[in-house]
């Protein structure tokens, strides 16, 4: 089915990598985790998007977003890294880009708003980065979930599903950075439904878990791992009691915490017990018929393939 709701900024592009016709491209910021610890996130996103006719066009010379947003009033330096990435988007002749990692999305989106709110801040940052062209403002930061929902559309995605996920019980885990603060959240901060709707359009059953918008502990896994372990016990425990087959996230740090601390609780490595953690792009790609080898499922600490193979068999 042709996608009618195509923005003016979308550009036609041919891709030799797939038999599916790629008609559009959107700039894309990967971030550190997607090149290392979460390669399956990027691979599956690229493969799934190609099936939907979109190419993710990686920003040239992108740099670390800073991971966490500075919450102080006087710390302009922390906004230099995001602004430098916005300049890369500007150089591509584009006005927007998508991020996959929820932490990157949040940090970049908040910085974009921070410099847009006060031109004095922006001119000081521009003056500091005298080796770069000035950032003129106006670059829009999108999360891929937003892009799937608002631009491609879940109905369109449903029409492309090759392997419906009938019978699969999937618990979404939003965490913090997709939803808070309100002005950058992609959905309601306490009662989001974007992932639930996506899963249902893929044929799966969305499992409602009470802790889906709560923090996993994030970077406190470095300084206070005990506190994070307690969080994970609660989050995963509630999902397990609801008989979910999988937990789905959009954040490499959530994924790390939910996997590692589950394993430290059960004391097992590479176990088939425990609840596997998938990125939403891996679930999407699987339903769209992306070959398993392109989804990066083997990198997961808790193997999700047994849960998914029940679908293929049945």
């Amino acid at each position: 089915m042709p996608n009618e709701a195509v923005p003016k900024s979308a550009k036609a592009s041919a891709s030799p990598q797939t038999s599916h016709i790629t008609r559009y491209a959107v700039p894309y910021f990967p971030g550190c985790a997607l090149k290392d610890q979460a390669v399956g996130f990027e691979r599956s996103a690229r493969a799934a998007l190609l099936r939907l006719g979109w190419e993710l066009k990686e920003l040239p010379r992108w740099n670390c977003c800073g991971t966490v947003y500075s919450l102080s009033t006087d710390d302009l330096m922390r906004h230099v890294a995001p602004v430098r990435n916005f300049i890369r988007v500007q150089e591509m002749g584009e006005e927007r880009f998508v991020a996959l990692c929820a932490m990157c999305y949040n940090t970049l989106k908040r910085s974009a708003r921070f410099v847009a709110a006060d031109l004095g801040r922006l001119s000081r940052i521009n003056a500091f980065m005298d080796e770069e062209p000035d950032y003129r403002g106006g670059v829009e930061v999108l999360h891929l979930l937003q892009f799937l929902r608002d631009e491609i559309g879940f109905e369109e995605i449903e029409s492309r599903v090759e392997k419906p996920l009938y019978g699969l019980k999937v618990a979404p885990y939003y965490g913090c950075m997709l939803l808070r603060p309100r002005e950058v959240g992609i959905d309601h901060p306490d009662a989001p439904e974007t992932m639930e709707l996506l899963f249902e359009h893929l044929g799966a059953e969305a499992v409602n878990s009470p802790h889906k918008v709560e923090c996993c502990g994030a970077y406190q896994t470095v300084a206070n791992p005990g506190v994070v372990r307690e969080r994970v016990r609660e989050i995963v425990g509630a999902v397990a009691r609801r008989d979910a087959d999988l937990i789905v996230t959009s954040c490499p740090l959530c994924t790390y915490n939910l996997e590692r601390h589950q394993l430290s609780i059960t004391g097992e490595e590479k176990t088939r017990h425990g609840i596997p953690i998938l990125y939403f792009t891996q679930l999407l790609g699987f339903a769209l018929g992306v070959p398993e080898g392109e989804l990066g499922l083997g990198g997961a600490a808790i193997d999700p393939r047994p849960a998914l193979s029940q679908l293929v068999g049945g």
Partner: protein, 157 residues
């Protein structure tokens, strides 16, 4: 790492907070300039955070929704109350160091106070003196760079 506040002192603080005869002087959503009678550190926290600590009316929603209170010696609302009272014991609290900036309090505060910013300001008071909240030798093996960068940005000078 900062010391924990002992239990008796904490109870005194809690009692004082709950039954205060002096209600917050102002309930504006905007940062306010506080009087010169307030201790410097309170003014500094307001400057660094851009938040009005006297806007808090102690409803406790932040404390109720905070998922890290098991590791805290002061609940988020107690941190706010001690700041309002100008009580320096807030500067010794571990709570700002356990806060993960998840912003659950921020989206729920009925007075629009971004408590995560207040917590960051309290950390910065120490960090900008060169103190650190991260003991390098105790970092668990195998933590990914996303966690390390996040932690060093929040917990080291």
């Amino acid at each position: 790492m900062v010391e924990r506040i002992d239990g008796d002192a904490l109870r005194v603080i809690r009692d004082a907070g709950m039954g205060s005869a002096n209600p917050p002087s102002c309930v504006t959503r905007h940062p306010l300039r506080i009087s010169s009678g307030e201790p410097d550190f309170v003014r500094r926290v307001e400057e660094l955070s851009g938040e009005a600590v006297f806007a808090c009316y102690q409803c406790g929603k932040c404390s109720a929704g905070c998922t890290f209170t098991s590791g805290m010696d002061l609940l988020p609302a107690e941190v706010m109350r001690l700041l309002q009272l100008g009580d320096e014991r807030v500067l010794k609290s571990v709570s700002p160091w356990v806060c993960a900036s998840c912003l659950a309090c921020e989206v729920r505060c009925p007075k629009g106070v971004d408590i995560a910013k207040v917590m960051e300001a309290l950390r910065l008071l120490d960090l900008r003196k060169g103190e650190t909240g991260l003991r390098w030798r105790e970092i668990p093996p195998g933590v990914p760079q996303i966690a390390l960068v996040g932690a060093t940005r929040k917990l080291t000078p």
